[in-house]
Symmetry: C2
Subunit: 342 residues, 2 copies
């Protein structure tokens, strides 16, 4: 029996995740859903904890967790989002953040001539170390002599495993991105690990870019990329940039994976957008495509392909929400995707 934990979360999270769950149900794969209704801003305000240990155990017991969106203006404290998303990334050791980008339709790209550009790439972001290690502090905080320090930590094993994941995910090329010309210690480690790992895949083109150049290239020449692999901080920036170039956040999916244990957290990249919650304007595509990534990892590659094809078909036919050029509401857009799956 396969069980998927579901965290609807905040704002539009419950609305989009409902469509993702319905789409998976439609495929008749016998997947069970364990819905965790207590992880959201309201319960955080009530009890001051982002996620109880009991909730965490349910997530851990499941074969994957599908998240709607975490975050709400009523809880400005970043500890809330970190207590959910970063906690799961770190405690489940979800070291590879996989962010595929494929333009669903020309009209969605902010770039000129998007067809010619043929955007179809993926960012692999190291997800458990780097600047997100949480190691730092401040001397004389709050005074005008304050010195604040944050430590970017990279380990040989951490860098090696994410490079291997990226090399395994590529079909054409992998571009490793760092800033070894300025941030020497981590850069040196990434360079050494890369020099070794890339030799294991002589069938792939392997390249290197500094992060500033990579950001430019994503805008000027996005079709020059297949897989990009980089550290946590640069991955945060480049993956959102690539999503925007590839049609916008509404359609962007993400998987946070530990390929060895099989654990995975799947979520649309967009936020909780509380301003449009309940209006029917929320676009379910990012959540549905995140569910497709989940199906891939659960061994259902065929159904995952059907889901992606259904999404593409509905977006091409403008049977989608207004942000994508259609006039359907969230539920009707979800229903259109399910209908296209049949």
């Amino acid at each position: 029996m396969t069980t998927v934990a579901v965290v609807p979360g905040d704002g539009i999270g419950p609305e989009v995740v409902a469509e993702a769950v319905a789409a998976v149900d439609e495929l008749g794969l016998g997947i069970d859903f364990d819905v965790l209704d207590g992880i959201n801003a309201r319960t955080y305000r009530e009890r001051g904890a982002a996620m109880t240990d009991a909730d965490f155990d349910r997530v851990r017991a499941a074969d994957g967790v599908l998240v709607g969106a975490i975050g709400h203006p009523s809880v400005p404290d970043p500890a809330y989002g970190r207590g959910v998303l970063l906690r799961m990334r770190f405690e489940l050791d979800l070291y590879a953040n996989y962010r595929p980008v494929r333009l669903l339709h020309d009209r969605l790209s902010p770039l000129r001539d998007p067809t010619r550009r043929g955007i179809d790439c993926a960012i692999v972001r190291e997800n458990t170390e780097g600047l997100y290690a949480g190691i730092g502090g401040a001397l004389r905080p709050g005074t005008d002599a304050e010195v604040a320090v944050d430590t970017e930590v990279s380990t040989h094993s951490g860098v090696t495993r994410v490079l291997r994941f990226a090399l395994s995910a590529a079909t054409r090329s992998v571009c490793m991105v760092d800033k070894a010309n300025a941030v020497e210690s981590g850069g040196g480690l990434w360079q050494r690990c890369w020099d070794r790992e890339r030799r294991t895949r002589p069938d792939l083109e392997t390249r290197h870019l500094y992060v500033d150049v990579a950001a430019m290239r994503l805008v000027r020449d996005p079709d020059s990329f297949d897989v990009i692999v980089t550290n946590n901080s640069y991955g945060d920036i480049l993956s959102d940039l690539a999503a925007e170039v590839g049609g916008g956040l509404g359609c962007a999916a993400s998987a946070n994976l530990n390929p060895e244990t099989g654990a995975g957290l799947y979520e649309p990249v967009h936020g909780s957008a509380p301003d449009i919650a309940g209006t029917g304007l929320a676009n379910p595509v990012g959540a549905v495509l995140s569910a497709a990534l989940l199906l891939d990892r659960l061994g259902h590659a065929g159904p995952a392909r059907s889901l992606r094809a259904a999404v593409r078909e509905t977006v091409e036919a403008a049977r989608c929400t207004p942000d994508l050029g259609g006039d359907l509401d969230t539920r009707a857009a979800g229903a259109a995707i399910r209908a296209a799956c049949r």
Copy 2:
């Protein structure tokens, strides 16, 4: 007597800087140039030093330094570039990297409908601390137990002065960019300094974005920005991204400033492009616009405006190099700019 040090550097550096110097000469401002011919990859290979102390003294004595480009594939060691550019940034305490972006012509933008977008903004990058502090190291380097550490250091005075510079450079709005939701210590310091400094300019709209969102916004909505201020590492990425969105590196200018001492390093953002050195394909616009930034700082705001207008006129008329849609070589493009100044 005003003296400007000139570092032609590598590749196309000498070619583009010659046009910048000629353009300034044409304006008849009585500026003297002290050309430092010994700072380039060839001399680095010969004597193993990026810049002699005597050279550095000449730079320090000048009222500003105009750099062509530093870097060459024959010297892969990043210590070379760092020994020139980062040394000047750090030793002259050039804490504000000012990177204006203004689209010279629609055809140069990688974005759709660039006119409607009206790109006209500037990135202010903190230039002397953060991840560029050079504080770090590795434990068990070169082994498979290596741990590498780089320290991002932010100081109250360092953050405050660059925020003040950004606020002074804006006419409409300033957007402060950090990642306080994940990188807490530095983020907290930036937030606190920002909360205080932004109140000094109630006439400006002041905003905040996380760096991942800012990168997306620069592509989706570049005309929503006036001045963006951020740390060294994010500034490195966002300033190149903005340059690309605003028409590409060939036209991008930069100033590295210490407004208190008046010291400044001015350079085009493009690299040394050794593959096209000597072919006449090098585009002098980035260097000429960098010279305009120098003139601003030397108190020649009027001539600086003329230079910018001349550049815009020649690019609109396609009297420019092929990368901008013209058919002139470097020298003819420089001559066209000078002619338009008259």
